[in-house]
């Protein structure tokens, strides 16, 4: 009974048991001003007697008079504003201290049940709120996806037509300005796409399986091949343990980290990028790392590293939208892992991450 999930059902059952326990013949269950259950009397009668309820968590006996005389036993439920009022007819046995003790124990059981119901109701309400917030967010990113991209396409499209087909009739500085419009349009397009990718990450279900980490690194490097072309860059891949993760997301982690490593080591004569793994704490499995000897960053800003649209370099020096590491952070987090970095200005950066708990992690699905 005390595991009931709804208040009214709990009140009804609690009242029935209390009536049996005390040998009374009627009663009601009130929570604050609300009568949740009635037994053996009319709602009017219960409403009239409601004043008896809700005064403290002690048990008391109230003579009601009448002929034959009737008696009410008011049982307050500890730590709540609810009480059970039991009304006995002429044959109600007189209560002894044993019966009173039982009734008191029973009252605290019911109170526990009531508290539980309240918590369940609270969780249900919160879940409903969360689900609706999620749906709103989804509608919002849908709108961004469609409505923000359309005007961008027009800006970029018509600027491109001007640049490609009317370039000959335009003065040089006009062409320069048009190029700036186009570059900014392209940049904004990337921002919108990255932001969408980021928001989609929170919603999509993890499809975990055992993955050869080395394969994920190799696929990431294949994708990044255009960025290393024509550069003197040494890429060292150490021994990498397998892991249980969503393979596409793991690949995304390596794409983003390696792409950063390649980008920020771009001004090095002999660029060096290293991927490896080392033993970690007992409870979180191996620590993977991606290291470069590039521009690094000031550790004073390390806390901003994984925020969306946060950049620690000027866009004149290194291009980017500031979403890549936020995506990596979210993926690692969703796999139950941690990510952190060590760096020094002009002496390279190392990003470490763990992927513990991938098996246990479950996405809450919206109903």
């Amino acid at each position: 009974m005390i595991f009931s999930t709804d208040q009214t059902a709990l009140a009804r059952r609690a009242l029935e048991w209390a009536v049996r326990l005390t040998g009374t013949d009627s009663g009601f269950f009130a929570s604050g001003p609300t009568i949740l259950a009635i037994h053996g009397m009319s709602r009017d009668e219960a409403e009239q007697m409601k004043a008896l309820a809700g005064s403290g968590d002690r048990q008391r006996t109230v003579p009601l008079g009448g002929r034959p005389p009737r008696t009410a036993i008011v049982v307050g439920l500890p730590a709540s504003e609810a009480s059970i009022v039991l009304v006995g007819g002429p044959f109600t046995p007189v209560f002894g201290s044993d019966e009173q003790a039982w009734l008191q124990q029973y009252a605290s059981l019911v109170a526990t049940g009531l508290e539980r119901v309240r918590l369940v109701e609270q969780v249900t309400a919160r879940t409903r709120e969360l689900e609706s917030a999620n749906r709103e967010l989804e509608a919002f990113s849908y709108t961004i996806s469609h409505d923000l991209r359309a005007p961008l396409r027009a800006i970029n499209g018509f600027t491109s037509i001007l640049l490609e087909e009317y370039a000959a009739t335009l003065p040089e500085d006009a062409r320069g300005y048009l190029q700036r419009v186009k570059d900014n349009g392209d940049h904004m397009g990337n921002l919108v796409d990255d932001l969408l990718a980021f928001s989609r990450l929170g919603r999509q279900t993890l499809r975990t399986q055992t993955v050869r980490t080395r394969d994920a690194v190799d696929r990431a490097l294949t994708q990044l091949a255009p960025e290393t072309e024509g550069r003197n860059i040494e890429i060292i891949i150490g021994d990498l343990p397998d892991c249980k993760v969503d393979p596409l997301l793991l690949e995304q982690v390596f794409i983003n980290l390696l792409s950063n490593a390649i980008k920020y080591s771009g001004k090095r004569e002999n660029a060096r990028v290293e991927v490896g793994a080392q033993p970690g704490r007992d409870d979180e499995g191996p620590v993977f790392f991606v290291r470069d000897n590039g521009a690094g960053f000031d550790m004073a800003y390390a806390d901003k590293l994984f925020g969306v649209f946060q950049r620690l370099h000027r866009s004149q020096d290194y291009e980017g939208t500031g979403v890549g590491l936020a995506i990596v952070h979210r993926i690692v987090e969703r796999h139950g892992g941690r990510i952190w970095a060590e760096a020094k200005v002009d002496q390279g950066a190392t990003f470490y991450f763990t992927l513990k708990g991938a098996e246990e992690w479950q996405v809450p699905t919206a109903a």
Binding site: Y142, S145, H146, D147, R149, A150, P151, L152, R153, A154, N156, G157, F158, T159, S160, I161, K182, G185, D186, G189, V192, D193, L196
Partner: protein
């Protein structure tokens, strides 16, 4: 823009005049835009395809080679237009290409469920956009042999 004998190669269902102009611009460049019929919303698209309302005197067996269909349209959306085209035996064989801004997986899945022939996300990048417009026109008008209407 239909040819003198009333034949239409491409039926373009697009409510955004910018996207329309950009697509036509590319199709024109490759001489693929001779007979493009543009309609602005899902309602008009259905009237055109099924020869009702404003297009009552058209012959329903006179199919466009391909329908380029935006998803987000006024009145009746692209998915509904797609559903009706693919449900009707008279129009089922017309190739339909979804051309949309939406990158949402659910739109893509729903489109394929309804029997779309191709699904293209309109790129923000104009070079990519040109490329899609061009290959699209080439593929569906020049290379693809549509089956004879049932």
């Amino acid at each position: 823009m239909a040819s003198p004998d009333g034949r239409v190669d491409i039926l373009m269902v697009e409510d955004n005049p910018n996207d329309e102009e950009l697509t036509l611009h590319e199709l024109r460049k490759y001489h693929l835009a001779n007979t493009v019929q543009v309609v602005r919303d899902g309602q008009e698209a259905l009237e055109y395809i099924f020869c009702t309302g404003r297009y009552a005197d058209r012959d329903v067996n006179e199919h466009p080679h391909v329908i380029l269909l935006d998803i987000k349209l006024p009145f009746i959306d692209g998915l509904e237009v797609l559903r009706r085209v693919k449900q009707d035996p008279r129009t089922r064989t017309i190739p339909v290409v979804m051309l949309t801004s939406s990158r949402e997986e659910r739109d893509l899945i729903e489109s394929y469920r309804l029997g779309v022939n191709s699904y293209i996300v309109k790129p923000v990048d104009f070079d990519q956009f040109k490329e899609s417009a061009r290959t699209l026109g080439m593929y569906w008008l020049l290379l693809n042999k549509p089956p004879k209407a049932a």
